[in-house]
C-alpha cells in the first residue's frame, strides 16, 4: 500500500516513502513558502502507515537547507514516528549532514532532544 515518490525542486525535497519497505527519505532542500501544503500528503501517508507499521522503519533525512516553516512539519513527521516507536516497532532516524555544516548537525540534535526515537548522525563529505 502507500507509496510516495516526489521529485525534488529548488524549493522542495525529493521524497520517497515506501510503506512496504518501511522506508521514508527526504533529500535536498525544503524551503517552500507553504510547507504545510507540501508535507500534508506525507504526514497523511505516515499516519496510515502507523496503523500497521513494519517491524523496522528506516528514515533518512539528508537536507541541504530547510526553512523554519518546514521545521514544524518535519517535527510532525517525527512525532508520528515517535508514536510508531512507542507502539513497539523499531524506528531509526538517520540524520545526514555535510562535515562542515555544524548548523545542520545542531538542527538534528535539536530534534533528537525533543523526539524519543533513536537518531544516528551521519557525516557526509562536503559536496562542492
Amino acid at each position: 500500500m502507500g507509496k510516495i515518490s516526489i521529485e525534488g525542486t529548488s524549493k522542495t525535497p525529493t521524497v520517497v516513502f515506501d510503506s512496504q519497505e518501511g522506508v521514508l527519505e527526504l533529500k535536498g532542500r525544503s524551503i517552500p513558502e507553504n510547507s504545510i501544503e507540501f508535507y500534508k500528503p506525507i504526514v497523511e501517508s505516515l499516519n496510515d502507515y502507523s496503523d500497521g507499521p513494519n517491524e523496522f522503519t528506516k528514515v533518512n533525512i539528508q537536507l541541504e537547507y530547510f526553512n523554519t516553516s518546514s521545521s514544524k512539519c518535519i517535527l510532525d513527521l517525527f512525532k508520528k514516528l515517535e508514536s510508531i516507536h512507542k507502539g513497539g516497532s523499531d524506528v531509526i532516524i538517520n540524520w545526514f549532514y555535510e562535515e562542515d555544516d555544524e548548523d545542520m548537525l545542531e538542527a538534528g540534535e535539536d530534534y533528537q532532544a525533543i523526539i524519543n526515537v533513536p537518531f544516528k548522525m551521519i557525516e557526509t563529505p562536503v559536496d562542492e
Binding site: 513558502e33 523554519t68 548548523d103
Partner: protein, 169 residues
C-alpha cells in the same frame, strides 16, 4: 563609511516568483564569489527566512491597503567583515509592541539560550497559517550569531514601518 557593496536591492511586492528569483540570483552570486560553503549556507538560510517573512506579510499589507509598489524593501550588501541584510515592511501598529518584545528577548539570549528557545517554540503546538509559528526571528538570530538591530517608525495610528538589520560575520 565602511566600503559596502550592495549585491541586490528590491522595493515592491514580494511575490512567490520574486522571492524565487532573488534567491536564485543570490545563490549564483555567492557561488561566483567563491564564498566558503559555511558562510554561503548561513547567508542563504537567513535570506530565505527574511524573504519569506516579507512574503507572509503580503496579505496583511493588502488588507490595510498599502500600495504594492512600496509594500516592502530588501537589501543585501557585503563588506570586508561579512554580509548585511536590511528588510523593511509595514506592520499594524498594534503588533509593534509584541514584535519588539520578541526581538528584545531574542537579543537578550546567548547561543544556548537561543537553542533552548528554538526547541520550545518548535515543540509548541502554535503555528501560523503558513507553518512557521514564530521560529523565523529565532533562527535568523541563531544563524547570524549577532544581535538583531531594528527600528519601528509610526506612520500613523494604524500602521508602522518595521526595519530589521542583520549582520552575518
Amino acid at each position: 563609511m565602511k566600503h559596502n557593496d550592495i549585491m541586490l536591492s528590491f522595493k515592491g511586492d514580494v511575490t512567490s516568483e520574486m522571492l524565487t528569483s532573488m534567491l536564485q540570483i543570490m545563490e549564483a552570486k555567492l557561488d561566483n564569489l567563491g564564498e566558503p560553503s559555511k558562510m554561503k549556507r548561513k547567508v542563504y538560510n537567513v535570506l530565505v527566512e527574511c524573504l519569506q517573512n516579507l512574503y507572509h506579510h503580503r496579505d496583511e499589507m493588502k488588507r490595510i491597503g498599502i500600495d504594492e509598489e512600496s509594500a516592502a524593501i530588501f537589501m543585501i550588501g557585503r563588506n570586508d567583515k561579512g554580509y548585511n541584510i536590511v528588510t523593511g515592511n509595514y506592520i499594524l501598529t498594534e503588533r509593534v509592541e509584541s514584535l519588539k518584545g520578541k526581538i528584545d528577548h531574542v537579543n537578550s539570549l546567548d547561543k544556548d539560550g537561543l537553542k533552548t528557545l528554538y526547541k520550545e517554540v518548535l515543540n509548541n503546538d502554535e503555528r501560523s497559517q503558513k507553518g512557521g509559528g514564530g521560529l523565523g526571528i529565532i533562527d535568523i538570530a541563531r544563524k547570524s550569531g549577532q544581535n538583531l538591530v531594528y527600528d519601528f517608525m509610526e506612520v500613523d495610528k494604524r500602521y508602522s514601518f518595521f526595519s530589521l538589520y542583520i549582520n552575518i560575520v
